[in-house]
Amino acid sequence: MVKVFILTSLFLLANFAKGQTVDSTEINMITFIEEAPLFKGDLKEFIQSELDYPLSAKKDTIEGTIVISFKIDTSGLTINHKVAKGIREDLNNEALRVAKLIKFDRPALQKGRPIEVKYTVPVVFDLRHSQKKSKCRKK
């Protein structure tokens, strides 16, 4: 009798938990930000200027765009960097390294108070651009 009771309880509990799951495709479009985080200068340019093309990827002539997502905290620092769309390990690691160098001059604001927001940036690995850059460095 006790076993039946326990099994019934577990079954009911499992169904209840199932009913609580949220549809992952459901997103809230939300108006929450008053001022976007500020990066003085061109963020795309900054990323490209800091990039060191990994030699292994150069040898294999691998190109492409990696997307890195991170949070901008209430002081403008970037934290919790993740590869949202990667290519392969050496390029992903380099993209992560560069993304970690980004610091915003002002965080996002809500009613004048700093708030944390998620941000996404592309890191472009382009062999032609990389060759131009290395030529410039040699000069």
Partner: protein
Amino acid sequence: MDYFGFEGKYNPDLKSKRYQSEDYWGATNSKTGEISYGNLAFEDYSTLYGIHIKESYHAQKIQNGLSLEKLPSDLQGLGMDTYLEEIHGYVYAYKRQGLFSGHNVPFSGVGFYQSQLSMFGVSYPTYPSHFSWIYKVPRRW
């Protein structure tokens, strides 16, 4: 909300994966079109009305089965899927400011979505730059 005849409900506890904050102005559920209002929308009537106009823009599209603005396929699923639609909502409400003059609707907030999409080379609408005062002239309809 019923008193003012605005669609939606007061839900101060709504959270989003994209930000961490205790407060917000308004939100629309991308699946159901249900509108929620946060504490910041209740600063004054004009602000509430402005937020109602912006969120209703999204809600009506969803409830009428119209598709929301979409990003190029290679940028979908990166957490920015609703950004273009958000920008369209801001621009729509901006052009109707005469209906809720004296508001505190955070129109500058559109810059966040625009800066994100510009990083990926996606084109997006902007607020009218010439004669924008026309949109702010108080009107009833």
